[in-house]
Amino acid sequence: MRALIDVPLMLLVTYTMGFFMYGFYRQFMARIQNRRGPPIWQNLYDNLKFFSKSETLSHGPMFFLGPMIMMAGAVTTVLFIPMLKDTAWLQGFSASGNLILVMFLMVVGPLGNALAVGASGNPFGVMGVTRGLTRLMGLEVPFFLGLALIMVQYETVSISAIMAAQPTLAEWTLVTNPLIFLVVLLPFIASLNASPFDVVGAPVEVYSGPRVEFGGRLLGILMTQNMMLSMAKYVLVVALFMGGASNLLELFVKVFVLFMLTASISAVFPRLRTEQAVDFFWRIPLGLGVVAVILTLWI
């Protein structure tokens, strides 16, 4: 019975956090660029506007189903990440999943999207998807290396157990093993499709890449799932490194702090080309990761 309340609540929380954070991001960028920027609700307006578009173009059944798969993938990912600790609420189905499962679930949605983009027959979209997969190949190596170190440290693959093992600030992974956080941080930014690793959907270089053919309500779905999946990733990193949260306010504050960090990094660096990004991931974060492995396991 609890699931009936939990599921809509978790989706609502991620969606709300999503548009607020991204609304804030646009404000933040505007202030950095010395302008006023849109209201903090702007992302909600944009999203609802797309849902109220009266025409939506489809390139066939697979094109239509792709965004649905993507949304279902995002929803499933959100529901398999526990939001809070020390409580029976907002756990979703996390008892039936684990960290590795969640990491792979995050790829299911993009697969659906890739199928839809392919079905549209637009070469720009496929070009974007290929770049996205290439970037994924680059970022997953250091990202998973960091996560593996966490799993070795806590000897479990369960997110709830990792969260429960960090009750106080002194036991946060961020404090006990800050090197892992450094390893994971930049790949994490890339997995959010944020600058400077946002060449996949670059509007000028590849004509907005995978989204090139999506308009109307389908684009609305893509925006929604993007906001929700991003927030799911933030919640996951908060759970792994910052000890999770016991209530929604704490969760919101921690996600906000992490969001500020990533937004500040995104705001100041120029965009990298795909191969530059991959090469970067395999040199700097992966090198750091190898150092972390040597320091924590071998010595």
Binding site: M62, L105, G121, F124, L133
Partner: protein, 591 residues
């Protein structure tokens, strides 16, 4: 006559299933003197017999078509018999006989194809015969040490004896699996073999190498533990094997991405997937072995499914290059779903079982604390997404790029029936991931490891945590249904594009003959990444020709010892002989 041959062959093909269900008691066949051939179903053999029992009839279906020649099915039946004998054999002689039957019948299957060129046939038989000779040397070594051919634990070996035997057997099986750099024969022969034969080679024959590697755990029980001790939490003797497996899968994955021929891509992907299995065997332990068995099971199903689907495409269009296909989703929908399920399982995405097996391998690596290996496995696993997308995009999506692709029809039923069965099996196994570990548990018990008893078939449980396949599948399915329903509740109209050329194309109007298909271009820019460019610029045929060149140069050097005057040659011979003689006399052992 023709019908009789076919029925007979078909009956042979289903024998593994009969054996698997109905085998009881051992069979001993006296050979000569005191030597006997004995056959029995051990737990390990039973697991691989199950793969054979599932795979052989499904792979036989496409061979039943009128267009396929008779000899194909007959030779395939012989091949199945060989593999079955190999699995059932309780002694190394029977094993060797089965191995030889397998090698020669598969070679005949390949060499009779009109597409096979001499180089491919030569490389296939060269590599496989060297595997057989290594095996022969190994089994003679075992006989000389124990006086028996029986497959049993060899204890009390010295390290040197053990190492020599392990290297002999290991090299033989690694050639069969196609580990780098011994994989040279695989891409060419998979590519040039007739389509239904490639299915068998990838799905079944390669698994015999995996069976052999696991058999080594029975032959050399002390190898993981006593020899060399541990590295972190895993056996040091397996660490090297694990790295060999990972490097194989990384290089094969990058090579696969660069291919523009469908079957070659699948061949490299097959090498890469078996690299994971090698890695998992290297890690060992309950999780590692169970991961290896699980991945072997999944790879059997997936490669059956993918190779049969692509055989259907090739049969219907006559095209085998990615660039010459496209947009088949509307013309071959069942094949599309076959390939879709296949690549999801191949890429290891939940909820299909490819994830379950990879999960076991990941957890095994975490348990062993081999994190660098873990990262390397992730690299090849993530790179595999690229070629998986190429597999589904280039033939089925995008724009049709050849006249054949524009008019193709759905593949005939002999191709579709196995696809549908295999899709069902993969989805079922994804929903009940515990089934795979339940199958692997008897093998673990036979190897003296603790089984991974899951609480239910729907759950994959490990000491580090697990996941519930039924919940996962249900959540995803319900979310998908709800999202789609909600979408239709929104106001407004959903309309289909007027033509395939109705694309956002910077205001431009593409014409139908404009090449809009991205099939061949995919993965081309990968070469700009330094590591991948470095890997792709090399090839193992380069390695082998380099080796040949070195050997020749070495021979040149050593030929200086043999100058043109024959008496000098005799002189050096006498000197060497005299030195050896003296050395023997000094040691006092006589000759």
């Amino acid at each position: 006559m023709r019908l009789f041959l076919r029925v007979l062959s078909l009956m042979v093909v289903v024998t593994p299933a009969v054996t698997w269900f109905a085998w009881d008691g051992a069979l001993v066949w006296p050979l000569f003197g005191g030597a006997t051939l004995s056959f029995d179903v051990t737990p390990l053999a039973s697991f691989f017999l199950l793969l054979l029992a599932m795979g052989a009839p499904l792979a036989a279906l496409p061979m039943l078509r009128k267009e396929e020649p008779d000899w194909q099915l007959a030779l395939f039946a012989l091949l199945v018999l060989g593999m079955q004998g190999l699995l059932l054999a309780q002694d190394l002689v029977g094993f060797f006989i089965g191995w030889e039957i397998m090698t020669w019948s598969s070679w005949l299957l390949i060499v009779r194809s009109p597409r096979t060129d001499a180089g491919t046939a030569a490389s296939y038989i060269l590599f496989n015969l060297s595997a057989a000779f290594l095996l022969l040397a190994g089994l003679l070594g075992v006989y000389s040490l124990t006086g028996s051919f029986a497959i049993q634990a060899l204890v009390d070996l010295t390290l040197a004896q053990g190492l020599v035997l392990v290297l002999l057997f290991g090299a033989a099986f690694l050639i069969k699996i196609g580990t780098l750099p011994l994989h040279l024969w695989i891409p060419r022969s998979y590519d040039q073999a007739p389509e239904p034969v490639t299915v068998v080679l990838s799905a079944l024959v390669s698994k015999m190498g995996v069976y052999g590697l696991l058999l080594m755990l029975i032959l050399f029980p002390e190898m993981p533990g006593r020899w060399f001790g541990d590295w972190l939490n895993g056996p040091l003797s397996g660490y090297g094997l694990a790295w060999i497996g990972v490097i194989t899968s990384i290089v094969a994955t990058f090579k696969a991405i660069a291919q523009d021929d469908m079957k070659r891509l699948l061949a490299y992907s097959s090498i890469g997937q078996l690299g994971y299995v090698t890695t998992a065997i290297g890690v060992g332990g309950a999780l590692g072995i169970s991961g290896a068995l699980y991945h072997a099971l999944v790879h059997t199903l997936v490669s059956l499914l993918l190779f049969i689907s692509f055989a259907g495409i090739i049969a219907q269009t006559g095209q085998r290059r990615f660039n010459d296909l496209g947009e088949l989703i509307y013309r071959m929908p069942i094949s599309f779903f076959g390939v879709l399920i296949g690549i999801i399982a191949l890429a290891g995405m939940p909820p299909l079982p490819g994830f379950a097996s990879k999960f076991l391998i990941f957890v095994a690596l975490i348990e062993a604390q081999w994190i660098l290996l873990f990262a390397a496995v992730i690299l090849s696993s993530a790179a595999a997404f690229l070629y998986c997308y190429k597999l589904i995009y280039a033939p089925f999506l995008g724009q049709a790029n050849s006249p054949e692709a524009r008019v193709a029809r759905e593949a005939p039923w002999p191709y579709l029936i196995p696809q549908i069965i295999l899709m069902g099996m993969l989805v079922g196994l994804g929903m009940f991931p515990g089934m795979g570990t339940a199958l692997a548990d008897p093998v673990l018990a036979a190897l003296g490891l603790a089984p991974l008893d899951g609480p239910s078939l729907g759950t994959l449980a490990t000491p580090y945590g697990g996941y519930d396949g039924v919940t996962l599948m249900l959540v995803f399915g319900i979310a998908f249904a709800l999202v789609t329903a909600l979408f239709y509740m929104l106001r407004g109209q959903l309309r289909r594009a007027g033509s395939r050329q109705d694309l956002s194309f910077a205001g431009e109007v593409p014409t139908p003959d404009q090449p809009l298909h991205y099939g061949a271009g995919m993965g081309r820019e990968l070469r700009r990444i330094p590591l991948i460019g470095w890997i792709l610029a090399r090839s193992s045929s380069g390695f082998f020709s380099g080796l040949a060149e070195r050997v020749e140069r070495l021979a040149e050097h050593s030929s200086r010892l043999y100058p043109s005057q024959p008496w000098r040659w005799v002189q050096s011979f006498v000197v060497v002989f005299a030195v050896l003689l003296t050395w023997g006399l000094v040691r006092g052992g006589g000759l």
